[in-house]
């Protein structure tokens, strides 16, 4: 087992902290690169797009992309640590598909992904993105149970 590239998909919300810390720690110990990936949805494929006649969906999407790029770069900067090489990437499309495509293209050795706790019923109904990635990834996937900063405070 040689782990040289670790991929961390993030949705940029406040639950990402646990996952990013864990991934960074793992990358440090395994001397791996860390690739932080955020996937932006295509505005034209959003459910409201049908009613949005006259709206420049392409312009909205590129605005989202620009915004996401800044945020991911900031995140990578914020979590930069020691010798770990960081890459901040933004992609357009469906989350699971893009994560898997990126992992395959860049020969990622492990995917570290956050997992929020839901009841069995919610899980069954929604069918989570994480499940799809775990099922389809050809590399090992590390699922990290996550919490918001507030939840972490209460626990400690």
């Amino acid at each position: 087992m040689h782990t040289s590239r670790i991929l961390v998909p993030t949705d940029l919300d406040d639950r990402s902290h646990t996952t990013l810390c864990y991934a960074r720690e793992l990358a440090t110990k395994l001397r791996a690169e860390l690739h932080i990936l955020h996937v932006v949805p295509d505005a034209a494929r959003e459910s409201w797009a049908i009613d949005a006649a006259g709206v420049d969906l392409a312009a909205i999407t590129s605005e989202w992309l620009r915004d996401a790029d800044v945020r991911v770069q900031m995140l990578a900067h914020q979590y930069r640590f020691g010798p770990v090489a960081m890459f901040a990437v933004v992609r357009l499309g469906a989350v699971a598909e893009q994560v898997l495509a990126y992992a395959a293209e860049h020969r990622v050795d492990a995917i570290v992904i956050g997992l929020s706790k839901h009841g069995a019923v919610t899980r069954a109904l929604r069918g989570s993105t994480v499940d799809r990635i775990v099922r389809r990834a050809s590399c090992p996937v590390v699922t990290v149970p996550t919490a918001t900063p507030r939840e972490l405070e209460v626990a400690s």
């Binding site: 902290h17 646990t18 720690e25 899980r123 996937v141 590390v142 699922t143």
Partner: protein
């Protein structure tokens, strides 16, 4: 586990059901344990028909004892085959795989679980489905879980065939056609 779930002092649990995916997981866990200087612990959970969805405690039967011993031997052999030292902690439990793995996790205060994407409960020929046990452990464990896929689908089929043949020989109604189904699958 620390609050942030970081692997500082690490102990890794690897649940084995002797399927190909669990074997791949064992090898990955071994390498990860070396890389992270972590302690590795193996567990096998014997499932008996009445532990599957039991509403009552399993009655102590003599057959369970022999199953227990057999599982212990297999577990030791499996660890030896993976090149792990004989002093590697390994435990056999009887019960529901998910709750026993989670219970062991809490007892040992382990930091990480490494397991196959699907074992014998399997994915009914679709290797992109997630096993019932793995799926529940991923969602219910309060530590990170690493899921490892068996090397390749071809490899799974090749290695599984003798197991099915052996099972067939043991069955009283031997000769019955056994399709490409998972043993003990859903």
């Amino acid at each position: 586990m620390t609050a942030a779930g970081t692997p500082e002092t690490c102990s890794i649990i690897v649940p084995l059901d002797f399927s190909d995916a669990s074997r791949a997981a064992l090898r990955y866990a071994r390498d990860l344990a070396i890389a992270l200087r972590a302690e590795l612990r193996a567990i096998h959970v014997c499932e008996t028909p009445w532990t599957r969805r039991a509403l009552y405690a399993p009655p102590p039967l003599p057959v369970t004892a022999s199953l227990f011993a057999l599982a212990g031997e297999r577990l030791t052999a499996e660890l030896r085959e993976a090149g792990l030292p004989p002093e590697t902690p390994a435990i056999v439990r009887v019960g529901d795989p998910v709750s026993e793995v989670l219970r062991y996790l809490n007892e040992q205060r382990a930091d990480l679980i490494v397991m196959g994407t699907h074992g014998w409960h399997g994915a009914g020929g679709d290797r992109h489905r997630l096993g019932r046990v793995t799926r529940r452990v991923v969602h219910e464990a309060n530590c990170p879980v690493v899921t490892v896929r068996a090397a390749s689908p071809g490899c799974v089929e090749r290695q599984r065939a003798p197991a099915i043949a052996a099972l067939r020989a043991d069955l009283p109604h031997a000769g019955m056609p056994v399709g490409p189904v998972d043993i003990g699958g859903e």
